[in-house]
């Protein structure tokens, strides 16, 4: 190791140490509003690993991430300002200690949840592999993360796809306050790598030179296409889990003092040639001044404007390149070009994959098989295994990976087959993917398309029938799409593939083969634009997916009974087009919402609340709902039929509403 390399490590570690100590002081003085997890004692690891990374390489980190951000090149002033909650902070005040973003320098974010960073680093690696950028992705995590399923799924995915990813475990021996010796059946982390067919190394994490040497080898392996490496860096944090917490209920003062004597900065100094001492003193003075200035900067910085609190939930709305603005579908030509719902989505996906090389599809059986529901037929032959990637059954894993991939510039399409399986990855969806644009103050884009089948029918039973669109509709940052026909499916799919927000694209299994006219040309349907399926004057019915078809089938009969139904298909649950519903209710004075799923806290409740609020004086009757029953979906046909609304239920509800 050259002198310059040693001094560089020394400088990085010193920046971390002094910044952390200053933050600890600031925390005591109440200048930091939330938590503050310091990295004191572990500096050698961040400094050693990051000494091999360029700005284009990406780092995904944990709640104890100050050191990683600083080592990756974040100026202390940005870190301190963030913890002070200022507009000049690295996350513009949206994150604090646990949500540090600086994508400009490859600092892709820290997370308050243990585990996701490993999956996201797989995504960073996947992007690098797909785009052949030669970049590597690094996950830093603690010993607490290695007993989490994400560790297992990440290492396995990195192994089978040979991802250019480094897994850096900082084993500081306590998961918050739970000892590693207690929580792990195996005394080694590094040894677990063998179980995944990966190289694993145990390193003295307080030896900066050694960390740098081993990490250097791992980075070289990754860049040369030989795949991932797991490093277990044995270390110790010498301050409490978080500032202000007691420290000696789970460990002893003696233990802490013993580790303080193994301070990585002191050890590096000890092996540094004597002639460098002058330069080291100069570096220390420079760093002290840097940290002093950082605090001054942070304290003087303004707080973010309260009015910006809702900015960046979604990316800037981009006008559709080929918008389909009519709420009413254009008349079909004669003869119509009729294709099924699924064929329409294939048409959209195939076209867009041909145009956009950053798109890749992941899912179980979507590769050479073409998808269980024929969602990707023929695409494998065109685009190969990297863009049509069959996955192990690890929903959390590949959804987490998709998040990391989107963060690093590619556009994943996750094909769940059955949308029930999304729930296995729900933390990645809600806590990571949906929030990432906002927490990064709009600097990361999250073009993740999550698609899968929903809906009840054919005795699929409860793990293959779920539709949780209402739940997804409650999550800021997600777009939730639920088409009712092939025409809408193509236009909405194209919109989803070109939009920078995460989109939940839910396809009702019972209408996948339903055909209608679908133009061959390219068209997008904007999110948040309901379709008026049928115009009427007496009762407004809002229905979703299959329930649109069910209701549509009743309209003529009801018309003969002198009940004129206006049928509205919102098409997207988030954003929800309440304007169109409101306009319709202003005309009819009556509103019925039909959903296949249980009523509680559902879309119907949301629409009813909004219309009762803004459209109160338009109402000539109470708002009514038709829903499935509040039960899981059973198997036997007699039971299954009992939990979903029938066309008779809907017709009766409409008649009763007309009489109200």
């Amino acid at each position: 190791m050259t002198n310059d390399q040693i001094l560089s490590l020394y400088r990085t570690m010193l920046i971390i140490r002094h910044t952390e100590e200053e933050l600890a002081r600031c925390h005591q003085r109440g200048l930091i509003h939330g938590a503050c997890h310091t990295y004191v004692g572990q500096e050698a690891i961040a400094a050693g690993v990051c000494s091999h990374l360029t700005k284009a390489d990406t780092v995904f980190s944990t709640h104890r991430g100050h050191g990683h951000a600083l080592a990756k090149g974040m100026p202390p002033r940005e870190l301190m300002a963030e913890l002070f909650g200022r507009a000049t902070g690295c996350s513009r005040g949206r994150g604090g200690s646990m949500h540090l973003f600086s994508p400009e320098i490859g600092m892709m974010g820290t997370s308050g949840i243990v585990g996701p960073c490993m999956l996201q680093a797989c995504g960073g690696g996947y992007s690098a592999k797909l785009m052949k950028s030669g970049n590597v992705a690094v996950a830093f995590f603690g010993d607490g993360a290695v007993n989490n399923g994400a560790f297992h799924e990440a290492l396995n995915m990195a192994s089978i796809w040979k991802l250019p990813t480094l897994f850096i475990c900082e084993n500081n021996q306590y998961a918050t306050e739970v000892p590693f010796s207690y929580s792990s059946g195996s005394p080694t982390v590094a040894g677990r790598a063998a179980g995944y067919g990966l190289p694993g190394f145990e390193v003295d994490g307080n030896d900066a030179v050694e960390v740098a040497r081993i990490a250097g080898e791992a980075v070289a392996r990754a860049r040369s296409g030989q795949g991932a490496t797991l490093l277990e860096c044995k270390t110790y944090r010498t301050r409490a889990h978080a500032e202000g917490m007691g420290d000696f209920t789970y460990r002893t003062r003696e233990e802490v003092d013993a580790w303080k004597k193994r301070c990585p900065i002191v050890r590096l100094k000890a092996i540094t040639p004597a002639e460098l001492s002058g330069r080291m003193e100069a570096i220390e003075a420079e760093v002290m001044e840097m940290v002093r200035e950082a605090r001054e900067f942070a304290e003087k910085s303004p707080y973010p404007e309260a009015t910006s609190a809702t900015a960046h939930v979604y990316s800037e709305a981009r006008a559709a390149s080929t918008p389909e603005s009519n709420a009413i579908r254009p008349a079909a030509p004669s003869p119509p070009r009729e294709i099924s719902f699924t064929q329409a989505t294939v048409e959209a996906l195939a076209g867009e994959m041909a145009r956009n090389p950053t798109i890749f599809v992941m899912g179980e059986g979507i590769g050479i098989r073409g998808g269980n529901f024929r969602t990707t037929p023929g695409l494998y032959d065109l685009h190969g295994a990297e863009r049509l990637c069959d996955t192990p059954i690890c929903e959390r894993g590949f959804v987490g990976l998709a998040g990391g991939a989107a963060m690093t510039g590619t556009r994943p399409v996750i094909d769940f087959m059955f949308a029930d399986f999304i729930l296995d990855s729900i933390g990645e969806v809600i806590n990571q993917i949906a929030k990432m644009q906002y927490m990064s103050s709009g600097r990361l884009k999250m073009p993740v398309l999550l698609r899968g089948c929903v809906g009840i029918g054919h005795s699929a039973a409860t793990h293959h029938s779920g539709s949780y669109h209402a739940l997804y509709g409650q999550v800021p940052g997600l777009r939730v799409v639920m088409p009712s026909n092939a025409y809408d499916a193509k236009g909405l799919m194209l919109r989803a593939l070109r939009c920078n927000d995460p989109v939940m694209f839910l396809e009702h299994r019972e209408i996948l083969t339903a055909k209608c006219h679908v133009p061959e040309h390219d068209y997008e349907i904007e999110f948040g634009k309901a379709s008026i399926v049928r115009e009427g004057t007496d009762v407004t019915v809002v229905a979703l997916a299959k329930m649109v078809l069910v209701t549509q089938g009743l309209c003529d009969m009801l018309q003969r009974e002198n009940i004129s139904v206006e049928l509205i298909d919102p098409r997207t649950i988030s954003p929800l087009d309440t304007e169109t519903i409101l306009r319709s209710v202003a005309k009819t004075g009556r509103l019925l919402i039909v959903e296949e799923t249980p009523a509680a806290f559902g879309l119907g409740a949301e629409i009813a609340a909004q219309i009762a609020d803004t459209g109160f004086n338009d109402l000539d009757a109470p708002i009514k709902r038709v829903n499935g029953v509040f039960a899981p979906t059973p198997y036997a046909p007699s039971l299954e039929a009992a939990v979903v609304p029938t066309d008779l239920d809907v017709a009766q509800a409409i008649r009763e509403l007309a009489r109200e």
Binding site: G589, N617, D618, L619, D620, A621, R659, E660
Partner: protein
């Protein structure tokens, strides 16, 4: 012991009445049977008598004359001498006050708080038109339960259930959209009958009413007269008659010369009480009715009830400033002509003064109406349900008449118009009846003497 003084129901369909004023003062000693206050019901102003002895206590916020009150509303108390007023909320159900003392009626919510009833109970009370403020709750902390409301409803009697379901004035149920439409069209929701669930007023009800108004008020410069309670009752009754009855009117000229002469003879007695033409004819008709009781039948559901001899009560249609009213001469068959004349003079005066009691207008089996004084000769009287016939008296005019021996004489002629309900009576018996009335009228003295 104290007794509530409440607004009584005068007539079966009465929901509310206009309080006309106290006839005693606060603190007066009242004896059972004393007139306590005056109340205007559907038909007439009526003196309401005390049912108990006691000292009158009028509530401080008791209704002022002119206030419209619901049946059952408590307006005061009779207490024992020295006893203080019971500690109760004023329950007077003022529907609308006299203008001078206008107060905001209690809202339903305000009453609900006072009486402690859940929303579902209050809804039930609305549906059954039960006034919560008059119910003592049996629930925890005197909360009113659904059972309490149902019990109150059944105590009030089943017939109430047959009244229309339109909500009481203070409890209008209308959709927001209907309210908005009513506001725009300047239509009072009180005047509407809802067609929605449980009588809820919907937009279409308002739109319908607005169209009806538009048709009715072709001239915007006209003066709009809101119907009085009496007029509404008259309108409803006549419309009901028009809807149900199959009326046929027979007319017959009668030689009234002897009748006129009989009255002239009475006048020569120097008595102040001279029987009027309608008195004499009523007495004559009673005799005819005894012979042909079918014309005195009263509808009672699927049956016609024929009167006994002492039940032949005859109504006299009287024009009053407040509109048509029909006081009843009782037991016409058995009473003497002179006592009938005295009674008819009394009740007609009472009618014109608006002081008829409910009893004064009940139980008629036949009605006589006289438009002769206006010079009308023949007309088609409308049957006063549940009666089955009515006799109209035309003007008495001197005319030249060819007698049976071909001489020309001056005679006093009158036309009788008999309307009968063809559902109950066929033409022949009705014609025979009219014939008998004609015969009696042409020779009244003999009939009257025979009747004595």
């Amino acid at each position: 012991m104290s007794f509530e003084i409440t607004i009584p129901r005068l007539g079966w369909s009465m929901e509310e009445g206009t309080f006309a004023g106290w006839m005693k003062k606060d603190g007066d000693a009242v004896r059972r049977g004393d007139a306590l206050f005056e109340l205007e019901g559907e038909k007439a102003l009526q003196e309401i008598e005390a049912l108990d002895d006691g000292v009158l206590r009028i509530l401080a916020d008791a209704p002022q004359p002119g206030a419209v009150l619901k049946v059952g509303a408590v307006i005061g108390y009779l207490v024992a001498d020295g006893e203080s007023l019971p500690q109760v909320q004023s329950g007077s159900e003022v529907v609308s006050h006299a203008p001078a003392t206008a107060k905001t009626p209690l809202t339903e919510e305000a009453k609900g708080v006072a009486t402690g009833a859940s929303p579902s109970v209050r809804r039930l009370a609305r549906e059954l038109s039960v006034d919560l403020s008059h119910i003592e709750g049996t629930g925890h902390r005197a909360r009113i339960s659904e059972d309490d409301v149902r019990a109150a409803s059944s105590r009030r009697g089943d017939h109430h259930a047959h009244t229309h379901t339109s909500p009481l004035t203070t409890d209008i149920i209308a959709t927001p959209r209907a309210r908005r439409a009513a506001k725009r069209a300047e239509i009072n929701l009180n005047t509407l009958q809802g067609t929605g669930r449980n009588g809820r007023i919907r937009e279409r009800d308002v739109v319908h009413a607005a169209k009806t108004h538009a048709i009715g008020s072709t001239s915007s410069s006209g003066h709009r007269v809101v119907l009085s309670g009496r007029r509404k009752v008259i309108a409803e009754r006549l419309a009901e008659s028009h809807r149900l009855v199959v009326p046929v009117t027979l007319t017959s000229k009668v030689d009234a010369t002897n009748l006129v002469s009989l009255r002239a003879q009475f006048k020569t007695t120097g008595e102040s009480l001279i029987p009027a033409i309608h008195d004499i004819i009523a007495k004559l008709v009673a005799g005819c009715l005894k012979q042909e009781r079918r014309l005195a039948g009263r509808w009672d559901g699927d049956a016609i009830v024929l009167p006994a001899d002492d039940e032949i009560h005859i109504g006299l249609a009287v024009d009053t400033p407040e509109g048509l009213i029909v006081p009843v001469l009782r037991n016409v068959l058995n009473e003497s002509l002179l006592s009938l004349a005295a009674e008819s003079s009394r009740i007609i005066r009472k009618a014109r003064d608006g002081r008829l009691s409910g009893a004064d207008m009940q139980d008629a089996v036949f009605t006589i109406t006289n438009l002769g004084s206006f010079g009308i000769e023949a007309f088609t009287p409308v049957i006063n349900l549940p009666e089955t016939a009515i006799l109209g008296l035309g003007a008495i005019r001197k005319q030249a008449v060819v007698t049976s021996d071909d001489r020309i004489e001056v005679r006093s002629l009158m036309t009788l118009s008999l309307t009968f309900d063809h559902r109950a009576i066929d033409g022949a018996p009705a014609a025979k009846f009219l014939q008998s009335v004609v015969a009696a009228t042409e020779n009244p003295a003999a009939r009257l003497l025979m009747a004595e």
